[in-house]
């Protein structure tokens, strides 16, 4: 059963990703990205990472894609570039590089399959079923990884200040002119 779901979600994700890249209309690209992201959320559920799956839907689908779509429509940039020809020398080199990358990573994965793996953790599926993945992620976040968590708050602050700096200038000028 699980394996069928994997191929269903994975297949749609790959098709969505390809459609995103090879689509002239940026709005359609964004919607295909959304499709791929939702499928990946499904895969997270299969991997017993429910918290991440929910966060995926909320953060990526709910915030990032909406933001991108908003900007696409704001700028009226949906038609994007005119693509005269996909088959150019440069593009073929890129595709070749991507294939080489895939082969190398595939080999690494294949080799990893037949080597001894360091099973270090204690968080088995039973533990997740008993405690829930939210609690486990939270515990890890507030003990082992407290420093990255705190630093992330600085990162978010930088993001806020950055957007204000880039976008809020007009507001300041208006206020100075007394408008």
């Amino acid at each position: 059963m699980e394996i069928y779901l994997f191929f269903l979600f994975g297949g749609i994700a790959v098709v969505g990703a390809l459609a995103m890249v090879f689509n002239k209309n940026a709005v359609h690209s964004a919607l295909f990205l959304l499709l791929t992201l939702v499928m990946i959320a499904g895969l997270y559920v299969l991997l017993n990472a429910q918290f991440i799956a929910v966060a995926q839907i909320m953060v990526y689908a709910g915030a990032i894609v909406v933001l991108i779509l908003f900007v696409v429509m704001l700028l009226g940039a949906e038609l994007g570039e005119s693509i005269p020809r996909w088959l150019t020398l440069r593009n073929s080199v890129m595709v070749l590089l991507a294939l080489v990358f895939l082969t190398v990573s595939g080999t690494a994965v294949y080799d990893w399959l037949y080597s001894t793996q360091p099973i270090t953790g204690t968080v088995t599926d039973e533990v997740i079923a008993r405690q829930g993945s939210v609690q486990l992620v939270g515990e890890s976040l507030f003990t082992q990884f407290l420093l990255p968590f705190e630093l992330a708050s600085i990162l978010l602050l930088v993001g806020i200040i950055g957007v204000v700096v880039l976008g809020g200038w007009r507001l300041v000028q208006h206020r100075q002119r007394g408008e």
Binding site: E2, S29, A55, V59, I68, L102, L141
Partner: protein
């Protein structure tokens, strides 16, 4: 049970599509989407390993990556909107006023 390498290979395929898209496309917004796809491929890899290793670190890492991805998208779009005011274009090839 789906074997972990399946997830890893799927993630590698998605990563390669994203990386290829960054190179192929000239529309800055689509490039941004492709980068998000690459980040998602990484996230899938992390969660697959986290499941395989019975370890929560991978999932916490994914949580961090999501935070960063959101901030990155906001900042990138803000810069792009500002640049669009000056250039009336989102095509990366037209951002070429500097030549040396």
């Amino acid at each position: 049970m789906v074997p972990t390498p399946y997830y890893l290979l799927l993630a590698a395929v998605l990563f390669a599509i994203g990386a290829g898209g960054v190179m192929l496309r000239r529309n800055t917004l689509v490039i941004l989407m492709c980068v998000e796809l690459m980040m998602n491929a990484v996230n899938l890899t992390f969660v697959a390993f986290s499941h395989e290793l019975n370890d929560m670190t991978g999932q916490v890492f994914v949580f961090m990556i999501m935070t960063v991805a959101a901030v990155e998208a906001a900042i990138g779009l803000a810069i792009l909107v500002e640049l669009y005011r000056l250039t009336r274009s989102v095509n990366i090839d037209e951002f070429n006023s500097l030549k040396g």
